[in-house]
């Protein structure tokens, strides 16, 4: 359920839900199974996906991967976990807020946007290969958002 719906329901103040609010709720319930499946898969296998992505990245950025592997894994794990909870809750806005804060604090300061974005592109390839389509579509949507924001330098 997206954050707007959450807020409008919580602030409903003694009225019934509108048809549009009920429809959004129905859509969320309908897509919940795929969301939960995606969350559970990321929970179980994201470590493996991240390693596969870094192996792919090593073909073009071997030195970076060698020098910063642990940090890459830690950061990517954080991003993937944020994506997982955002997918489960259907909370793009929450993800954006968290991502902006995180990138402003860490990523941009390190000036590694190009390599980082390549790493996340590799992760998208792995996700596409390894996850069922209904799950990879959800994850890649968020990874798209993330890499775009990364390259835009969070203007």
């Amino acid at each position: 359920m997206n954050i707007t719906l959450e807020q409008s329901i919580q602030n409903a103040d003694g009225r019934y839900l509108t048809d549009s609010e009920l429809d959004t709720l129905h859509v969320y319930i309908k897509t919940y199974e795929a969301r939960l499946k995606t969350y559970t898969l990321l929970q179980e296998k994201s470590g493996e996906y991240i390693l596969l992505a870094l192996q792919k990245l090593a073909k073009t950025d071997a030195q970076t991967v060698q020098q910063h592997k642990d940090k890459c894994i830690r950061d990517m794990d954080y991003v993937v976990r944020s994506i997982a909870i955002a997918i489960l809750r259907d909370d793009e806005e929450g993800f954006r807020q968290e991502l902006l804060l995180w990138m402003q604090n860490i990523m941009v300061a390190l000036h590694k946007e190009q390599q980082s974005s390549r790493a996340y592109r590799m992760l998208q390839e792995v996700v596409t290969q390894e996850m069922p389509k209904e799950c990879s579509d959800l994850v890649n949507h968020y990874l798209d958002e993330f890499t775009k924001a990364l390259l835009a330098g969070v203007a």
Partner: protein
């Protein structure tokens, strides 16, 4: 459920959710359609429920409406409001939100008017009236929220 989802985000900071944490949400999703049916039945029957509760109270507990001239109108406005909150809270299975966003404040108002006894009667009668409009399964979903209303609004401090 909204509170559970928000709690999940906050409490799983830095980790994934446990099976138990996820099970609470999944359970809700599985029972969602039953909740929607009850919600829609309540929306549809609101007028009748309020009228039947009103008539029962007037017949069996006339003291509730003794006092100021517009007490009956005020009672209706308040009771409709509580019923709507109850329906939404049942749909979302979210006692925490209704308690924090509405009942805590409304309790203060009811106490200021010394209306606890009237609330206690109203939500007891409402339960018996609703049982005539809902199935036993539907009643089982609403009952905890009616009980919450009665406990928060109907008890003296």
């Amino acid at each position: 459920m909204l509170s559970q989802l928000q709690k999940l985000s906050i409490e799983t900071e830095g980790r994934y959710a446990t099976d138990d944490e996820l099970a609470i949400i999944t359970e809700y999703m599985q029972a969602f359609h039953a909740r929607v049916e009850v919600y829609e039945a309540l929306v549809k029957a609101e007028g009748k429920i309020i009228q039947e509760v009103f008539e029962t109270i007037e017949a069996k507990h006339p003291e509730v409406f003794r006092g100021s001239k517009n007490l009956k109108d005020k009672w209706k406005t308040d009771t409709i409001r509580v019923l709507r909150y109850t329906a939404v809270a049942m749909l979302m299975n979210d006692p925490k939100t209704v308690r924090e966003r509405f009942l805590a404040w409304f309790q203060t108002v009811m106490r200021a008017f010394s209306a606890q006894a009237s609330c206690d009667i109203t939500y007891r009668v409402m339960e018996s009236v609703m049982a005539r409009h809902l199935t036993a399964e539907g009643m089982a979903l609403v009952q905890p929220f009616l009980e919450l209303n009665r406990q928060v609004l109907g008890q003296s401090s």
